[in-house]
């Protein structure tokens, strides 16, 4: 069963709710190694993105995601704004004109989104950033989809991979973003951006699981 426009909207909304719920937690993670604003920033941005989606319904998934990305860029600020904004804009570009998505559309789009983050932020794996959640997630998704899994099953795998990547930031020395100023003292802390990125993947798999169940 292909993914519809409404499912994509549901994904963004589910992520927005997850951010809302985890706002204090994300900010607390950011206090330890950053500047105590990641939760507030993400919440501000995704509240606006959801509002934007509600105000301008349609059926072009690509256009909708691009709109989300642009809203994030103009509402979040900080490192998160350009990075999450680029992620959604690049996904949107990859899905331009589509109103239904198959599993490999998802894989392609997610990869494009993550590549966008990498190009913009110039970070690599194991520098303790959101990429530590996103890159393993893309790889898991591609592998699962390539092996013929359903999107829903693949997203479960991707979410697990994101969670693993998120946890793997704990022992790392941060090399990018604000946490990098701490050098060795960044060891032992989970990266806030990797945590929000894990929640992003989890929102996707939760939404598709609900869809299947219903």
């Amino acid at each position: 069963m292909p993914v519809q426009y409404d499912d994509v909207v549901a994904w963004v909304k589910a992520f927005a709710s997850a951010i809302e719920e985890n706002k204090a937690y994300l900010t607390q993670l950011d206090s330890a190694i950053g500047d105590a604003d990641h939760g507030t920033n993400m919440q501000r941005g995704f509240q606006a993105a959801v509002q934007k989606l509600e105000e301008s319904p349609g059926d072009d998934i690509g256009a909708a995601l691009k709109g989300v990305g642009m809203t994030l860029v103009s509402k979040i600020g900080g490192a998160g704004g350009p990075l999450y904004g680029t992620f959604f804009m690049q996904m949107g570009t990859a899905l331009a004109g589509k109103s239904e998505l198959e599993a490999d559309d998802w894989a392609t789009a997610l990869e494009a989104g993550v590549e966008g983050v990498q190009t913009r932020g110039k970070a690599e794996l194991e520098e303790a950033t959101m990429l530590d959640a996103l890159l393993p997630a893309v790889q898991a998704l591609k592998e699962s989809v390539g092996a013929g899994s359903s999107l829903e099953a693949a997203l479960v795998k991707a979410t697990e991979a994101a969670q693993g990547g998120m946890k793997a930031t704990i022992p790392l020395i941060a090399r990018k973003g604000r946490a990098s100023y701490l050098g060795e003292r960044s060891v032992g802390h989970q990266d806030p951006g990797a945590t929000s990125s894990y929640l992003l993947m989890k929102a996707a798999s939760d939404v598709l699981a609900t869809k299947k169940a219903s």
């Binding site: 860029v73 979040i76 604000r178």
Partner: protein, 333 residues
């Protein structure tokens, strides 16, 4: 959380309204997207200077808008870099046909947002140069990390470049001067207490009653090391030592010494710090030719200070002395 605010969400808009109410004669505050610009912007034929960054560092940057310093400033949420649309609108509003210099503090967020803004402005045929300030010696400088933070030298760069822009020097010249200030300026800060981000509502870090944090960032990002409370003399050695070394200051050099309050430290303590700094530099034959002492780049109500040294030559000294007339810095005008 003990703050003179209404709601945490309204901190930035309320303060901006206050700035408009107080300084409407020199600047205009624009809302949505937020930016502040000179009341007489755009100044035709003058390179325009735009800076910006998270709020919570007042008077930087909004308080430095006015003749002789910035043409516009973009305030983000507290400690959050502003967004490209703010920067784009500010850039368009102040461009007087001679190009726009973006003065960017080296934080991932500031750099990325200003990059996007510069791209957008260039698409609208505005000539934009960006200079990234990275003067904080507390942070290891490395190609493989986010690099040094931009702190105190930003204030000095904004003043010096503002003076040069008033002289109608070209965008390239003003940008080169900004790079020169960045090359000759180094800073380091320390904290006695943490700040509280209004929306977070709790201290960003916990410091024991007998501890201080050396090498702190202006967003309460933890520093180089946490040590026991020490006298001002020792604090100054720990801050100024690495700066003097990094700048390779020599006997006979002239510097501008900037002793800054992080927000919660009062002036009487800054003078004690300045006195120790003067003794330390005198001991090495370095002359303090100019100084700036006060809260100019703050970190909300954090108690602590930072020291910035800028190696001076005649050009920098002259431009530092040039008239400036902003809410935060005024002289000669």
């Amino acid at each position: 959380m003990k703050k003179l605010i209404n709601n945490p969400e309204d901190v930035v808009p309320d303060a901006l309204q206050g700035m408009q109410a107080a300084h409407g004669d020199v600047l205009r505050v624009m809302i949505d997207p937020h930016y502040l610009c000179r009341a007489d912007a755009p100044v035709q034929g003058k390179v325009a200077l735009v800076s910006g960054g998270g709020s919570g560092h007042e008077p930087m940057h909004g308080g430095f808008v006015g003749p002789g310093m910035l043409d516009a400033a973009c305030p983000g949420e507290v400690f959050t870099s502003p967004t490209p649309d703010q920067m784009l609108e500010a850039t368009k509003a102040v461009d007087g046909g001679a190009g726009v210099l973006h003065i960017v503090k080296n934080y991932t967020g500031d750099v990325l947002n200003f990059e996007m803004a510069a791209d957008l402005a260039r698409e609208e045929n505005i000539e934009v140069e960006a200079v990234v300030i990275d003067d904080d010696v507390a942070v290891q400088d490395s190609l493989y990390t986010a690099g040094r933070r931009g702190v105190g030298a930003t204030v000095l760069a904004e003043k010096v470049c503002g003076g040069a822009a008033e002289e109608k020097r070209s965008l390239k010249e003003v940008a080169d001067l900004c790079r020169k200030v960045n090359g000759n300026g180094r800073s380091m800060g320390m904290a006695l207490t943490s700040c509280i981000v209004p929306a977070a509502g709790a201290p960003t870090f916990d410091l024991g009653e007998d501890e201080m944090e050396i090498g702190i960032g202006i967003h309460g990002e933890p520093g180089r090391e946490r040590i026991s409370l020490a006298p001002a003399r020792e604090v100054v050695e720990r801050l100024a030592g690495p700066i003097v070394e990094d700048l390779s200051l020599q006997q006979g050099d002239n510097v501008l010494a900037f002793v800054n309050s992080m927000g919660g430290t009062p002036l009487i303590e800054l003078y004690i710090v300045f006195n120790e700094l003067k003794k330390l530099l005198s001991g090495r034959g370095v002359n303090i030719a100019r100084n700036l002492i006060g809260p100019y780049i703050t970190s909300l109500e954090m108690a602590g200070c930072s020291i910035t040294l800028l190696k001076l030559d005649d050009e920098l000294t002259r431009l530092w002395d040039a008239p400036v007339s902003t809410p935060g810095l005024t002289w000669g005008a």
